[in-house]
């Protein structure tokens, strides 16, 4: 085990703690609040993926947060089009 792994795991646990508000925002409130929660969850998910790859020393895992970063932005922008007035 890499000696720096516990530090990264601690930071991942803290980041997962910030995923809770994102989930609560996405589950309650109005449609635009849910969009804010979705956007927040996407960003936190990407950063968690980056830190997981670093914690376990697997560079090949980095493709997951990279793809998620692209898809999360696209998804939120699609929802902004759908939530606009018709």
């Amino acid at each position: 085990m890499n000696p720096s792994t516990p530090w990264y795991l601690a930071s991942i646990i803290l980041l997962l703690g910030s995923l809770v508000p994102a989930l609560l925002l996405s589950a309650r409130h109005g449609p635009v609040d849910r969009l804010v929660g979705l956007s927040l969850g996407g960003s936190v998910g990407v950063l968690t993926g980056l830190l997981l790859a670093q914690a376990y020393g697997q560079s090949s895992y980095l493709i997951v947060p990279f793809v998620l970063a692209v898809l999360a932005v696209t998804g939120v922008l699609v929802y902004t089009r759908l939530l606009g007035p018709r």
């Binding site: 809770v20 609040d33 950063l47 830190l51 007035p85």
Partner: protein, 99 residues
Amino acid sequence: MKNFAYVLLFSGVGIIVVSSWAALWLRGVLVRLHYLSPVTTIGAPLIGLSLLVARGWGLATGLILLTVFLISLSGPAIAVATARVIAQREGITPAESPK
């Protein structure tokens, strides 16, 4: 150098955690939208910088920096797009904006 990487890492994570809980705590969707910005424009670059300091230059670090750059670039774009939806729904701007 490693300690500096940890300082950057936990600074970034701290900003993200505080912003997320503040976004949930405060009322009003525009206020929430404001608290989304530090996550992408301060927290993510700090974490990317800490990973750069910890790993040094390399192909994997390039992918990390590209990912962080994507998040940092997309954050303001998402905030503007969401704010435009709010303005359209509340009748502040016309529905067909920005044609």
